[in-house]
Amino acid sequence: MAQQHGIIVLFDVENALRTRSLDGNTYWFDNMKFLGSAGVGTEQLVTIVPGTHFSDGSQATEQVLNWLPAVLGAIPPTVPRNYLAEQERADDRRTLRELASLDGEGGVSDADIKRLQRRVGKRARKSGGGRGLTESKLLDVTGRTTSDSGAYNYPAPVITDITGPAVAEKIMYPAQYGSPDMIYDGWYWAATVDTSRPGVYPYTMHVQLHELVERNDELVWESVDLTCGSSLKITNDPKRNGFTGAGLGVLPLPPVPAAG
């Protein structure tokens, strides 16, 4: 099987929430520029899917695609998995330790209490329709607890479906998979591609963004469903020997190692 494609979509969530549209607010990447992907880093990515066939015409390579959403202006996805949850716990532990160590005898200063209150931060509730979000404390974009609802780190967008001609024409078969880490949002979308029908096939990605709103004196993650699109360009060449460049056959090795 060929190398898997990673398709990364960078979302300008702040602008998307303001305009209620993903037009002009997504940047697409894949790791196949060297094979001919076009528009890498823009909204018009065409992902190359180099297929191959055997001499009898049957499909010789499967191609697997994976989609990974990321947020512009947020904590990057390179922090350890579950970072937000871990960070919240570490912060709570630190706050409790400091609370316990406040000396009651000499009186507790207001400043200490205020500082710890700030550290407790704010929690946001999940609204009924929210998908893939765990309730947690608000962190700002540098990973610190914040109680300012205008400074929070945007959660990663959640892909909710992949549709369009590439799916309807059975060029690719996308599905959502669970990673072994089921507790915290461990989901991803992947697809296998039928490379036997060359052509350019657009698809639509359905995405849920989350925005924090204040309702009845509490903070709630409100989900906002939007769509954006990209294309696959399928090519299909005869399978050939990567060493010789010729047709399939035995590798050009001597049957017996050379003597001496």
């Binding site: 990673g6 990364i8 960078l10 300008d12 702040e14 602008n15 929430l17 303001r18 209620r20 002009g24 940047y27 990447f29 894949d30 790791n31 520029k33 060297f34 890498v40 880093g41 823009t42 990321a70 512009l72 202006g73 947020a74 904590i75 990057p76 996805p77 390179t78 922090v79 350890p80 970072y83 871990e86 960070q87 570490a90 700002d140 974009v141 540098t142 990973g143 610190r144 300012d148 609802s149 205008g150 400074a151 925005e211 924090l212 709103v213 204040e214 409100e222 906002v224 469903d225 939007l226």
Partner: protein
């Protein structure tokens, strides 16, 4: 049409984030970071230009907090921003890590309003190569004034 956010008019207190998207495998294979570096910021509505190129011009104002971070296209290959060279009269970036990790970001405050674009230099470490990669193309901080003078 989803409902509009009632809070959207209030200006958020987030920093202006400049994100460097790096394709480390392609950059290492070609020894060329310029073609494999894509810069973006969160100030497009204010007029930043050069999105998706290594010559991003970020529109900023005196007092803005800036934050630089990195998004590698290949999560199994190491990429880190190790230096930012910029006129210290404009900004003095400081290296920080996300708490509890060794993932680096840099922050700085814009010290004065900018009239002419101020180019700066980013340096990255990629994979296990010990020599930093510094793109030839240079991003810049630009002021609110119009900077339509041909160049990107």
């Amino acid at each position: 049409m989803p409902p509009r956010n009632r809070q959207s008019e209030r200006r958020p207190t987030r920093p202006v984030t400049i994100t460097a998207v790096v394709d480390p495998v392609a950059a290492l294979a070609s020894e060329n970071l310029d073609d494999n570096l894509y810069l973006y910021d969160t100030n497009k509505t204010v007029g930043s230009t050069g999105f998706g190129t290594p010559e991003l011009h970020s529109r900023v104002r005196k007092g803005d907090t800036l934050l630089w971070n990195v998004l590698p296209l290949e999560c199994e290959t190491y990429v880190a921003l190790i230096d930012i060279e910029i006129d210290p009269r404009i900004a003095e970036p400081t290296r920080k890590v996300y708490p509890g990790t060794d993932i680096v970001f840099w922050t700085a405050e814009v010290k004065q309003d900018i009239t002419e674009p101020v180019p700066y230099r980013l340096s990255f470490l990629l994979g296990t190569v010990s020599t930093p990669f510094t793109p030839t193309a240079r991003p810049a901080l630009a002021g609110p004034a119009d900077e339509e003078r041909g160049g990107r």
